[in-house]
């Protein structure tokens, strides 16, 4: 008697299908990112002004482990809620929240593209680190929308003052934290039994 499963523990069968699990995981991801974004806590890179915010590794983990939809909502909604809770105003930096969403979305596409390379938990963690870094690099390109909405800044400023520091900081966060979370989550999700 074949039993049709309504929800899968691993990434949904196709990246764009939405089940109750997708909704709940996206809500948890957005709540965690929203809360963590509101904590003004960063680790300075010695010799620079750049502050690494480790919880960006959680964003790329949610995308990588649960797919592009969960990734995008975790990033975007997390950004909007984080900006509100810190007092920066929910939509004051709406384009940064969209960029966060794209980071999560891109991280979510990797497992579907590189399924063959992810045989063991270890290889999955490695792919997760790569996925996180690439997702950050590509996702934050969206910041260059400022060329349209705030042209007075100029390409030079957006690149050196906004894009590069954020990418460096978040690549470190993604490369370090995402694999740790994948290694912690993988054995448990095996055990979920559905």
């Amino acid at each position: 008697m074949t039993t049709v499963a309504q929800s899968q523990p691993q990434a949904a069968p196709s990246p764009w299908s939405i089940t109750t699990r997708t909704i709940v995981y996206a809500a948890i991801g957005a709540a965690i990112m929203g809360f963590m974004n509101s904590l003004t806590y960063g680790i300075g890179i010695p010799g620079t002004e750049i502050q690494v915010r480790p919880h960006y590794g959680i964003l790329t983990f949610f995308g990588f482990a649960f797919g592009p939809i969960v990734g995008f909502i975790t990033g975007f909604l997390g950004g909007v809620i984080g900006d509100h809770l810190t007092g920066y105003g929910a939509f004051t930096a709406w384009h940064w929240s969209v960029a966060n969403g794209l980071v999560g979305l891109i991280a979510g596409l990797f497992p579907f593209a590189m399924a063959s390379r992810m045989t063991s938990t270890g290889s999955k963690a490695l792919v997760a680190a790569v996925a996180g870094v690439v997702a950050v690099i590509i996702g934050f390109l969206f910041i260059f929308i400022e060329l349209i909405i705030q042209p007075e800044l100029g390409f030079e400023y957006i690149l050196t003052i906004e894009y590069i520091p954020v990418v460096i900081a978040n690549c470190i966060a993604a490369a370090v934290v995402t694999p740790i979370l994948v290694l912690a989550w993988d054995p448990i999700s095996e055990q979920l039994g559905r």
């Binding site: 309504q6 929800s7 709540a31 509100h84 920066y88 007075e152």
Partner: protein
């Protein structure tokens, strides 16, 4: 660890309006001011934004901290722009830039740079003023309903409501985990070790909060499936009604958006050099 959407605007004039109003106002204001360049237009917009903000009657002492943080952050960023972008890469036609003074590192602070920074500062302040009511003047639970009535779909609306529901739970689990690890001699803010070691130091906090919530989600998923979530046509019990006053506010901002778009498309909202800087 008070982290939640506190309904500070409870009972205010705006809170009694349809919960879609703050969402529509924020959307139109952001779209409009993004198109405006002229600081004089943005100052008018700022007046509109703050009269709207006053309708939410958010008690000042409850948001004093947020506003001071906001003003400092926006001021710092704007002044940083002013110094580093110099003339603003050709935002002003014609004449050469007017150097006000030069900083020790040879960086020129120009009148154009300063007025650009002021423009950005006024724009951000206005956007913040219309963003606060989205969080503080919509009653708990109305946010999902408002999104649904704006035709953003059942599942997305329920998900947003679920996210708002989870924030205090996550905050509580974070503080419980921190307590549990501190008893084991853990100090997340310790400055010892290299950069990577310090980033890895968050593991005892991040893993329990993230993995713990995900493991616990099984019950939430079952609870929603058992009550038929996402299995067909959904009804929303409470109805929303845009009363006349709500329409007035929304139409005012739509009008403002139309005006801003017109000004911007016809090029009448270019950067305006603050005269008192150059005379």
């Amino acid at each position: 660890m008070r982290a939640a959407f506190r309904f500070l605007g409870r009972g205010s004039w705006l809170a009694r309006r349809d919960p879609r109003v703050p969402l529509l106002v924020a959307l139109t204001y952001v779209t409009a001011t993004t198109q405006l360049r002229d600081i004089r237009h943005l100052l008018v917009a700022l007046v509109l934004a703050f009269t709207y903000y006053a309708m939410a009657q958010i008690p000042w002492r409850a948001v004093r901290v947020q506003w001071t943080y906001l003003v400092i952050v926006v001021a710092v960023f704007s002044s940083l722009n002013a110094i580093l972008t110099g003339g603003g890469a050709g935002s002003f036609e014609g004449e050469e830039t007017h150097v006000l003074f030069t900083l020790p590192l040879g960086i020129e602070v120009t009148a154009e740079g300063v007025s650009l920074a002021a423009t950005r500062f006024v724009r951000f302040l206005g956007i913040a003023a219309v963003s606060f009511p989205v969080a503080y003047a919509i009653a708990p639970g109305d946010l999902g309903l408002a999104l649904r009535r704006l035709h953003l779909g059942d599942r997305f609306s329920v998900m947003v409501d679920l996210t708002v529901r989870f924030i205090p739970t996550i905050a509580h689990e974070f503080s419980e985990t921190l307590d549990a690890q501190r008893v084991r001699g853990y100090d997340p803010t310790a400055r010892t070790g290299g950069l990577l070691a310090r980033v890895r130091r968050v593991t005892p906090l991040f893993v329990p909060v993230t993995v713990g919530s995900l493991a616990g989600a099984e019950d939430t998923i079952d609870a929603m499936d058992l009550r038929g979530f996402g299995t067909g046509k959904r009804v929303w019990y409470r109805q929303l009604h845009m009363d006349a006053a709500s329409w007035v506010v929304v139409l005012a901002f739509l009008l403002f958006l139309a005006l801003a778009t017109y000004l911007s498309l016809t090029g009448q909202s270019a950067h305006y050099l603050l005269p008192f800087l150059v005379t």
